[in-house]
Structures are given as structure tokens and as C-alpha cells.
């Protein structure tokens, strides 16, 4: 009996050792992460979790909820990505998976890590832990510690990001209150710190966090997640905060999430002003997917107000019976409009006396947008640039002509037109190069408002090859985003004539980008100074500013290189059959070149399919005069023979 007991003991011990050995030696499953297979240039979603706790609640999700979320994402085909993927994507260097999502866990909490890791492994996903590094030095096991970070860096399912060092902690501010670290000046030694001291403190916080994380991971941390999504534009921020924060982010990181108002980031998003969706503790998987669906970009026009599913609300609002109703102080964003740029829009607003209503377009965060502001004083067209609000035009209300209620608006490139009521249209008004794309939304001021008769249509983005812009008919001009005139020929000395200048100004005044084309290529014997002469002929101030790219009628790499040396980007016009070779060529600048591909539809389709795995679809153009259904993001070029040569 005793012997049997000993045997049992040995058996149990051996079993235990075997179990431990198996557990330790079992390989961690590799994440489902295959950049080579990715080919989408649409954009990516970003979700952030404040934390994962056992029971959840408040801002935190429970482990079970997280499991449900990750499972749902997996089931719906979402593929998780890493911070470096975001960087290369936004640089136009590499595509993403079709439904890319960046998972962010805020706060550097160990419980989030412990709860999420097995789930990530189970679903083959990757995530990013955003760490306020001051917490890594605290006693206890609640936050990841410095020693954990080193282990963390070796985990295939995790990446690290910075949330600053002490930026999440409150600071004493004037009046004995607590303030926000990054956006307010500290009360120290019975006085307010100087501006220089403020800037130094903020800069030091970024640098310190980067140093700690870099020490742990042996590589620079690319991503920064701005605590409280406060980029220095919130009430109470000092005026210098926005610029200071931006400068520090730029100095220490490559991508930054500074907003939390949308899940989707398109290919033209500012890498330093990205947005993520904060996942609430109360959300189940369905609610999460709904939240993502609301942010999904929609290319199709919006006709009418629709129902509540068409709007994302900040504050109280509802859509019913063709009317969008907003309570005082509320905002409503048109679903999926975050990547909209050129558009035509109209609406009618019902605003009580004393109330204000605002329309936002190209809203890319609180510091970048275009706004139409309607109140009893009249209509203002404004552009927000950082901390500066600029009024582009003003239509004051008068006794005989009150503020209009029906407004139409159109944007194309860096131009804006507005027509309000019976007044003559305003425009073209100049927009800055920073306000390029963003959401459409409405805001109610001190009183409730309702919006009716709303429609918004993305403008066609046609590429037109013709000799004269002015002789194009009006509709074609309006549809044109990019105009390519043949101004130069390899056989002739380049010359920029007064008529070309007039054409250039006429097109640019309508927000159309102009790319002069050099014909007669390739020419192996072309004079080496030809590119210099082109640049010289375009040295007049209007041409110098407005022309940044030259189109080559065929790939001519030496000429392209010399034009690049003169500061120009290149558009290559190629036959579909030559696309493969060009895409493999080291002479193609993948981060900037445009490709205009021509040939029969089948060949072009194949060439484009190959090309979009290499360069963003926004840089691909299909030259065809036929009305074809083009792959998403790819533009169509048409050749117009009419028009006087310059």
C-alpha cells in the first residue's frame, strides 16, 4: 500500500513536471499578421480601451466583453495592425489589410495586458499598449513595470506606444485647483511657471517617456497617444499649448492619436492628428460593430436626412421625418463622411431668433475645419487653423435681408463657394492647404435647431488631358480635379507663355491641380539641361507655386530624376503592358509618383490590380474615355481634343 502510494506520488510529480514543461515549451501562436498580402489603401479603424477589468463597468470592459469584441472583429474580417503599419501606410509606402483595425490599450495597466494577451493569441490579433511611463516606476503590480516592458517588447502580439511620462497626472494650477499637465501652466513656488518653463516641462515629458520605452524595447517608439485627447484646444488651455504639443509630438514620434471622435483614418489623414474610437464599458459586440459601421467611409452621396443610423451624435439629437433635430449645444456628424474632401452640399436650417446654427465640412478635429456660422448677425464662412479662426467671408443680416436659412456649398481642392439665400454666391474663397478633408456635421448653439432638405455629394475627381482648361465646358470644369496640358515637347525649348499662365491661373482658381506634360518621350538623347530649362521656364511665381508635378508622356527615368532634382514630383504616363516593369523599377518613387495607365480595359485592369499592391490607389489614374466602373479610389482620366493650344 505504501509502495502504491509512493508510485502515485511519483506519477503525480511526473505528470506535474510534464504539464509544466508542456506549458512552458508550447509555442506562442503567431498572430494572423501578413503584410505581404495586404492591398487596401482605404484606411484603418482605431479602437482604444481604457482598461480591461474582471467585472468591467464605467469606462472599462470586462474580460468577457473584450473576448466578445475581439471575436466579433475576427468574425467580421477585421485585421489588426501595428503602429509601424500605420506609419508606412500614411506615408504611402505600404497598403493595409482591407478592414484594418488598430487596437489600443490605454494606461499601461497590467490587468489589461493579462486579460487581453490570451484573447489576442486566440484570435491571432495584435494590439498596442500605450504606457504613461511614470506608472512603470510605481510600487505594486497594478501597472506594467520597467522589467515587464522588456518582456513585453518580445511579445509578437503586442507593440508599445507612449502616453508621455507624467502627462496623465494633474498639476497644481493658479487658484489652488488641479489642472491638466500638457495644456496648462503649473503653479509652482507660489507663482505661475513661465512660458519657457512650461514648454521645457512638456518637452521633457515627451523625451523622458520616449527614453524609458526606447531603453526597454531598444527601438524608438513611433506612436503617441495623447492623454485625454486634448491637443490644446479645449477650454482652459493656454494659447501656446497646441503649438507646443504639436511640436513635441513631431519631434519624438511618427504617428499620434490626438482625437477620440471617430474610428476611421483615411489615407490622407494627418499622421500626427489621428483619431480613435473609445470603447465604452457598456458596449457589447454589436454596439462596437455599430460604432465602427458608423465610421465606415461612405463614397455615395447623402440624399436627405434619413434616420438616426445616418448620424453620430455628440449630445442630444434625433433624425425623424426628414428633419435632423439638435438640442442646444449638440452636434451631429454625417455617418462615414470623415474622409470627404471635394463636395457639393445644401441644407435648410430652422433656427429660432437668438439661436445659432453651424455647418462643419472638412472637420478634421477641433483645430481644423471649415464652418458656416449662422446667427442673427448673418452668415460667416470660417476656417479654423489651429488656434486661429479666420473669417473668409461675411454676409451680414440686415433689416430687409435676415440671415438666410437655405445654404448651398461647394468645395474643390483649396477653393470654397457658398450661396446663401438670394445673395450672390461667395467664392472662390481660399482654403489653406491644411484643411483638406474631414467630416460633415451640424451644431446647435444656445437653442435647439432643426435641419431639413440636406444633401451632400462627393464631387467627381476627373483627370482631364487637354490643351485648354478655359475652353472646357462648365460641367467638365466642375468635374475636373486635375488638369494635364501638354505644354512642353522634348523637341522644343521649354517655354511658359502668357496664355499658359492664364490657363494655369484659371484652373487653379477653381481648385484644380495643374500638371504640365512633356510630350515626345522617351528621348535617350535629350539634352541634360532640359529639366533645368523646364524649371527655369516655370520660375515665374504663379507657376513656381502652383506646379509641383510634371507629367511625362512615357517613362524617361533620367529626365524624371533631373526633374526631381529641380523639386518636381512625377506623373508617369504608361501603357498597361509596361506597368509591371515600372512597378519593379527602382526609378519609381513609390511615395510620390502618380501613374496614368492607358491601354485596353482588360490590360489596364490587370495593371491596376498589380499597381494597387504597390502604391496608393489615389496615385493611380486610368486613362479611358469610356464610362467604366473603376476600382475604389482610382481616378479616371479623359482626353479632350477640343480647346485652343496655348
Amino acid at each position: 500500500m505504501k509502495r502504491l502510494f509512493h508510485l502515485a506520488q511519483w506519477a503525480a510529480l511526473i505528470a506535474l513536471v510534464l504539464f509544466a514543461w508542456r506549458s512552458l515549451m508550447r509555442p506562442i501562436p503567431a498572430p494572423d499578421y501578413h503584410p505581404d498580402e495586404w492591398s487596401s489603401w482605404r484606411g484603418f479603424y482605431a479602437l482604444s480601451y481604457a482598461g480591461v477589468t474582471r467585472k468591467g463597468g464605467g469606462d472599462y470592459v470586462s474580460t468577457a466583453q473584450l473576448a466578445e469584441h475581439l471575436h466579433a472583429l475576427h468574425e467580421q474580417g477585421f485585421k489588426t495592425i501595428k503602429p509601424e503599419d500605420v506609419e508606412t501606410f500614411l506615408q504611402g509606402r505600404a497598403p493595409l489589410p482591407d478592414r484594418a483595425v488598430l487596437l489600443l490599450f490605454e494606461g499601461g495597466r497590467k490587468d489589461s495586458y493579462l486579460a487581453a494577451t490570451p484573447l489576442l493569441r486566440r484570435f491571432g490579433q495584435v494590439a498596442t499598449m500605450c504606457v504613461p511611463t511614470i506608472l512603470t516606476r510605481r510600487w505594486g503590480s497594478f501597472y506594467l513595470r520597467t522589467s515587464d516592458l522588456k518582456r513585453f517588447a518580445r511579445q509578437p502580439h503586442w507593440s508599445l506606444a507612449s502616453m508621455g511620462h507624467a502627462a496623465i497626472l494633474p498639476i497644481p494650477v493658479e487658484g489652488g485647483a488641479e489642472g491638466r499637465f500638457l495644456v496648462q501652466r503649473q503653479w509652482k513656488k507660489r507663482q505661475l511657471e513661465s512660458l519657457d518653463a512650461y514648454r521645457e516641462r512638456v518637452e521633457k515629458d515627451f523625451a523622458q517617456a520616449q527614453a524609458i520605452l526606447q531603453h526597454a524595447t531598444s527601438r524608438p517608439i513611433k506612436l503617441y497617444l495623447l492623454p485625454f485627447a486634448d491637443a490644446g484646444t479645449s477650454p482652459g488651455s493656454i494659447p501656446e499649448a497646441e503649438e507646443t504639443i504639436r511640436a513635441c509630438i513631431e519631434a519624438h514620434h511618427r504617428v499620434a492619436f490626438t482625437r477620440a471622435d471617430d474610428a476611421f483614418n483615411g489615407p490622407d489623414s494627418d499622421p500626427l492628428q489621428l483619431t480613435r474610437l473609445r470603447v465604452r464599458g457598456s458596449w457589447d459586440a454589436q454596439r462596437l460593430l455599430q460604432g465602427l459601421a458608423k465610421c465606415e467611409p461612405r463614397p455615395e452621396p447623402i440624399a436627405g436626412i434619413g434616420d438616426n443610423s445616418q448620424w453620430v451624435y455628440d449630445g442630444n439629437g434625433f433624425a425623424a421625418t426628414g428633419s435632423l433635430n439638435l438640442a442646444a449645444g449638440a452636434r451631429a456628424w454625417a455617418r462615414g463622411s470623415s474622409d470627404w474632401s471635394d463636395l457639393a452640399l445644401s441644407f435648410e436650417v430652422n433656427r429660432p431668433a437668438g439661436g445659432t446654427a453651424a455647418l462643419y465640412v472638412r472637420y478634421a478635429g477641433p483645430s481644423r475645419y471649415v464652418r458656416l456660422w449662422l446667427d442673427d448677425a448673418g452668415l460667416r464662412i470660417q476656417e479654423r487653423l489651429g488656434s486661429t479662426m479666420q473669417t473668409l467671408a461675411l454676409q451680414p443680416a440686415t433689416a430687409g435681408s435676415p440671415t438666410p436659412s437655405n445654404v448651398a456649398l461647394r468645395t474643390r481642392g483649396n477653393r470654397l463657394w457658398v450661396q446663401a439665400g438670394l445673395a450672390p454666391p461667395a467664392g472662390p474663397l481660399p482654403l489653406s492647404r491644411f484643411t483638406t478633408r474631414g467630416r460633415i456635421g451640424f451644431e446647435a448653439g444656445a437653442t435647439a435647431i432643426s435641419v431639413r432638405a440636406f444633401s451632400a455629394t462627393p464631387l467627381p475627381s476627373l483627370v482631364v488631358l487637354s490643351q485648354s482648361f478655359r475652353s472646357l465646358d462648365r460641367a467638365l470644369q466642375d468635374a475636373t480635379a486635375l488638369w494635364i496640358p501638354t505644354w512642353f515637347h522634348a523637341d522644343r525649348a521649354p517655354e511658359f507663355t502668357p496664355n499658359m499662365r492664364s490657363e494655369l491661373l484659371a484652373a487653379a482658381a477653381q481648385g484644380v491641380q495643374v500638371i504640365p506634360r512633356i510630350a515626345g518621350l522617351p528621348r535617350p538623347d535629350l539634352d541634360r539641361s532640359f529639366a533645368e530649362h523646364v524649371a527655369e521656364s516655370l520660375s515665374e511665381i504663379a507657376a513656381r507655386t502652383l506646379i509641383t508635378r510634371i507629367a511625362l508622356s512615357a517613362p524617361d527615368f533620367p529626365l524624371a530624376e533631373r526633374l526631381r532634382q529641380q523639386g518636381y514630383s512625377i506623373l508617369f504616363e504608361i501603357q498597361a503592358k509596361d506597368a509591371h516593369a515600372l512597378l519593379r523599377s527602382p526609378h519609381l518613387e513609390r511615395e510620390s509618383d502618380l501613374l496614368l495607365i492607358k491601354g485596353n480595359a482588360l490590360a489596364v485592369g490587370e495593371a491596376l490590380a498589380e499597381a494597387e499592391r504597390e502604391i496608393p490607389t489615389s496615385r493611380l489614374i486610368w486613362k479611358t474615355n469610356q464610362e467604366l466602373a473603376l476600382p475604389p479610389g482610382i481616378r479616371r482620366a479623359v482626353q479632350i481634343e477640343s480647346g485652343e493650344p496655348p
Binding site: P239, E240, E242, E243, R246, A344, S346, R380, Q382, E383, L385, G386, S387, T388, M389, Q390, T391, L392, A393, L394, Q395, P396, S401, A408, L409, R410, N414, W417, Q419, A423, P424, P425, A426, G427, P428, L429, P430, S432, R433, F434, S502, L504, L505, A506, A507, A508, A509, I541, A542, T545, L546
Partner: protein
């Protein structure tokens, strides 16, 4: 949505006026075009035009396809006095926004300024093209431009061009009004062309006829006057008194005796107004060294009013024309007729000086000045006479009188003072005064020449030479070329001197220039430059 530019500038819209967060202007990585334009406007308001220009240029560099950037740049350039660049900017702005009313209003003004700029550089055709283009637009105060350009064309010639310009931009009534305008200001060439143009356009009034007759007589165009007189008289029977006097004076100036054809056979009593006018004209002719015309007019003045105090100038004209004998004859005859003691004493003094009796001349001059101490010309004459006698201290007393006059704001004392200082070898005082005068009257070659003369005497020949070269590049003046040749010869540049002399001789044949030519030729053949 209709977004034509044509309706954009309606007044209900106010473009880019407001910077809502002006306190925050210095922040932000890059300034938008609206902000740059706004700042440029502010700097224009502060009259800091260089800063405004810089900002406007930055705005253009940021968004050259936005009309307001060029508009603002054009405005600043316009204010800075760069009309050519301003016009380019405004034309670009108009290309981008053809219906901008403000731009349309500015353009003619810029063209006008550009026209003046071309004119100043001697680019007459380009200037005229600009003026004509400006007048096609809605130019503020266009009458002034027509008047100014017409006067310039009239005085620079040819007459036909001036007449054609006037006809293009004015109606008959305006042409006649311009004739009166210039007539009253003694701008005789312009007045005559304007009246002639009015006449050919149908303004055949006695008032116009009589003035045209007078103007022709003044410039010695007696033959055309005689030719047209009959038909003019046939057109008009009634002549006002002033018109009759113009006609009579015209016949007398032309030494025509057909006064019987005039409506009033007896000559009207000479009026002081017309005599004053003749004296002003005679003085102007004398200043331009047109001695024949000057003497002719002084002769008429003496005939109309022998008491006039212009006998010294008349004598200068007579001397220049016919030598001392001519002056003696003129003054002797005048002395017989004058009844004014001051005038008579002055004439006697001048006669004495011509005859070489300087002491006696001084006594007569003092007598005249006792009778009327305000005779500036006579005082200067007394000064010169005293200098010739070596009585410099007494001469200085006369200088003091002029200084006193200048202190009391009499600017006519400036020229004699400058000349007196130069005579007394107080070159710094003379230089200061000539410099002031040259700045006050930039179109007058005389002051530049005299200033250069003083500089030369002060040993600053290079400065004198440069100022004369600058002057002679802009306008041909015999005195300037003569002085320039003298300096160049002294500086051992005989070929340049010869060039200056040749140019001078093309304007005026003078013994001094001939002498200089000989010297230059001799030196040029001796030593190569």
C-alpha cells in the same frame, strides 16, 4: 450651384475682413493667405509699406490663383510708386476676378502713374499708350490727366499730336475751356493748340478768335494770322473790349497796319492787365534766351507803358540782340518818354553804366532806390556795379536787403541771393541756395547748371560733372553742355568734351562753344584718352 465670379463681388459679402482671434496671430506653423492679406492691409494702414509688400508677396507665393493676393500686392506697389509692377499685379487679379469693381477703378490710375513713369524716362510712345488706356477706363479726375498730357504734348511737339490727343478725349466746349485755362497761365503753346482745336471743332466765337490772333502774334506767326483774320471778322461782328484789345495788340505785334478791318477802328486804351501779361511773357522769353521775342515784347510794353520797371531786362534783351548800341538806343528813347522819377533815374543809371560811367550809374541807381526802395532788379544791378567798382562792402548792403526779403518769405529773392553769394565767393551759401532751387524746380536746367558751376568753383568738379551729365542725359541745354565741356577739358577728357560741345552747338551757336570746340580738338589730337 452657380459659382460664377461675375456675381461674387456684390456688396453684401465682405471678404476676409475679420481675424477673429487676432491675439493668436503669431502662433501656428504657417499663415494662411487670408491672414497674410489681412496683415498686409494692417501694415498699409500703418503706412509701413515695405512690410505690407513683403506680406502681400508672401500671400501671392502661398496662393497665386487667389485674386485678392494680387490685388493686395498691386495696391501696395501702387502706393509705393511702382506702377509697372502694380499694373502687372492688378491685371493678374483682374484675370482671376474680371468683375472686381475696385480693381477696375484702380487700373486706370495705375496706368496714369505708369504713363508718367514712362514719360519721365523719355518713353513717350509707351507713356501715351498708357495715358490713352487709362482714359478709356473710369479714371478719377480724368480731366486733369487730359489737361496735363495735352500740355506736355503741346509743349514738346509736334502740335498735330497734341491736337489729335485733345480731340480724342474732349468735346469742343472742353477744348475752348482748356484754351482759356492755359491762356490765363501763360502756357501759350498749349493755349493756342487748344483754341485752334476748338476752332476747327466749331467754337468760332469772338473770344476764341481774338485770343488765337493774339497767340499767333506773340509767337510771330503773323502770316497765318493775316490769312485767317478776315474770315474770323466776317463770322463775328461784336467784340468785347478785351477782345478788341487782343486784336489791336496782335496787329501791332505783327506790325500790321490793316487795323481798318477791325470793328473798332481806334485802338482801345491799353490796360494794365494786358501789359502785365506781356511783361510776364517777355520775362519768360528772356529766361529762355529767346532775345528777339523778348525784345519785341519789351518794345511793345514800353510803347504801352513807358513807366514800367522792366527797362533793365529790356536792356539785357537789347544788348543780347544788338549789343550795347541797341540797349543805348532803346533806353535813351525810353528815358524821353517815362514820367516816373524812379524809372527815369534807373534808366539813366543803366545808360551811364553802359557808357562806362559806373560811379555815376551808382548815384542814379541810389536815387531811383530812394524813390522806390522795392526794386529788386535794380538792387541787383547796383550790387553788380558796386562789385565792378571793387566796393564789396557796399555791395554786401544790397545782399543784406535780399536776405531780409527772404526772411520775410519772398522766394523771388532766392535766385539773386545765390548769384550774389557766388559773386562774393561765398560758395557754400550759393551752393545751398542753388541746391534748394534745383530741388524746388527740378525741370529747370538753369538751377542745376548754376549749382554745378558753384561745385566746380569749390573744387568738386566730379560732382559738378556728374550732375551735368545727368541733366544732359535728360534734356538738352546749351549752358549745361558748355559747362560740362569746360570741366571735361580740365579733366583731360577732350573727346567727351568734344561730344558735349557738338551737342551744345546743335542747340545754340555761341562763341564760347566754338572756342571750346577748338580747344577740345587740339587736345584730342595731342593726347589719346
Amino acid at each position: 450651384m452657380k459659382h460664377g465670379l461675375s456675381r461674387w463681388m456684390a456688396p453684401v459679402w465682405a471678404l476676409g475682413l475679420v481675424c477673429d482671434v487676432c491675439a493668436a496671430r503669431d502662433r501656428g506653423a504657417a499663415l494662411s493667405v487670408i491672414e497674410l492679406i489681412h496683415r498686409a492691409r494692417v501694415e498699409v494702414g500703418n503706412t509701413n509699406l515695405p512690410a505690407a509688400r513683403l506680406l502681400a508677396e508672401q500671400a501671392v507665393a502661398v496662393d497665386p490663383a487667389y485674386a485678392d493676393t494680387w490685388k493686395q500686392l498691386g495696391r501696395v506697389l501702387m502706393l509705393q510708386g511702382h506702377p509697372e509692377e502694380a499694373l502687372n499685379a492688378i491685371d493678374t487679379a483682374l484675370e482671376l476676378r474680371p468683375d472686381d469693381r475696385e480693381l477696375r477703378r484702380w487700373r486706370p490710375g495705375i496706368l496714369r502713374d505708369l504713363g508718367w513713369s514712362h514719360w519721365a524716362r523719355g518713353e513717350r510712345d509707351r507713356a501715351l499708350a498708357c495715358f490713352n488706356e487709362a482714359l478709356k477706363g473710369a479714371l478719377d479726375n480724368r480731366e486733369a490727366l487730359v489737361r496735363q498730357v495735352f500740355a506736355l504734348l503741346a509743349e514738346a511737339g509736334p502740335r498735330e499730336e497734341a491736337a489729335a490727343f485733345l480731340k480724342q478725349w474732349t468735346d469742343t466746349q472742353t477744348q475752348a475751356e482748356l484754351g482759356y485755362f492755359f491762356f490765363e497761365r501763360d502756357r501759350l503753346v498749349a493755349a493756342e493748340i487748344a483754341f485752334d482745336t476748338a476752332l476747327t471743332s466749331g467754337a468760332r466765337s469772338a473770344s476764341v478768335f481774338s485770343r488765337v490772333a493774339f497767340l499767333r502774334a506773340l509767337r510771330g506767326a503773323c502770316e497765318p494770322l493775316a490769312r485767317d483774320l478776315k474770315s474770323w471778322l466776317a463770322d463775328n461782328e461784336a467784340f468785347e473790349r478785351e477782345e478788341a484789345e487782343f486784336l489791336h495788340e496782335s496787329l501791332l505785334l505783327c506790325a500790321m497796319r490793316e487795323s481798318g478791318e477791325l470793328p473798332q477802328r481806334t485802338a482801345p486804351e491799353p490796360t494794365a492787365a494786358l501789359t502785365d501779361r506781356l511783361e510776364r511773357l517777355a520775362r519768360a522769353r528772356l529766361a529762355e534766351r529767346d532775345y528777339a521775342q523778348a525784345y519785341r515784347l519789351y518794345a511793345r510794353i514800353a510803347a504801352r507803358d513807358p513807366n514800367r520797371r522792366c527797362y533793365l531786362r529790356a536792356a539785357s534783351a537789347a544788348t543780347a540782340l544788338r549789343g550795347d548800341a541797341g540797349a543805348l538806343e532803346f533806353l535813351s528813347a525810353l528815358a524821353e518818354r517815362t514820367r516816373d522819377p524812379a524809372t527815369r533815374a534807373g534808366i539813366l543809371g543803366r545808360l551811364a553804366r553802359i557808357r562806362g560811367e559806373a560811379d555815376r550809374a551808382v548815384a542814379h541807381y541810389r536815387e531811383s532806390l530812394d524813390a522806390d526802395p522795392k526794386q529788386a532788379d535794380l538792387r541787383y544791378e547796383l550790387f553788380s556795379t558796386l562789385i565792378s567798382l571793387g566796393r564789396r562792402d557796399e555791395a554786401r548792403d544790397q545782399l543784406a536787403w535780399f536776405i531780409e526779403r527772404l526772411k520775410h518769405g519772398d522766394s523771388s529773392a532766392q535766385t539773386p541771393l545765390a548769384e550774389m553769394w557766388a559773386t562774393l565767393e561765398d560758395y557754400q551759401g550759393a551752393l545751398n541756395m542753388w541746391t534748394t532751387l534745383a530741388k524746388q524746380y527740378p525741370s529747370s536746367a538753369y538751377y542745376v547748371v548754376e549749382r554745378a558751376r558753384v561745385l566746380d568753383r569749390m573744387g568738386r568738379s566730379d560732382e559738378a560733372r556728374d550732375s551735368l551729365m545727368d541733366l544732359t542725359r535728360r534734356s538738352e541745354d546749351a549752358q549745361a553742355l558748355q559747362l560740362l565741356a569746360e570741366i571735361l577739358l580740365r579733366q583731360n577728357r577732350p573727346l567727351d568734351a568734344l561730344d558735349a560741345v557738338e551737342r551744345g552747338l546743335r542747340i545754340e551757336w555761341s562763341p564760347a562753344l566754338l572756342r571750346l570746340r577748338d580747344q577740345a580738338l587740339q587736345r584730342a589730337t595731342r593726347a589719346p584718352e
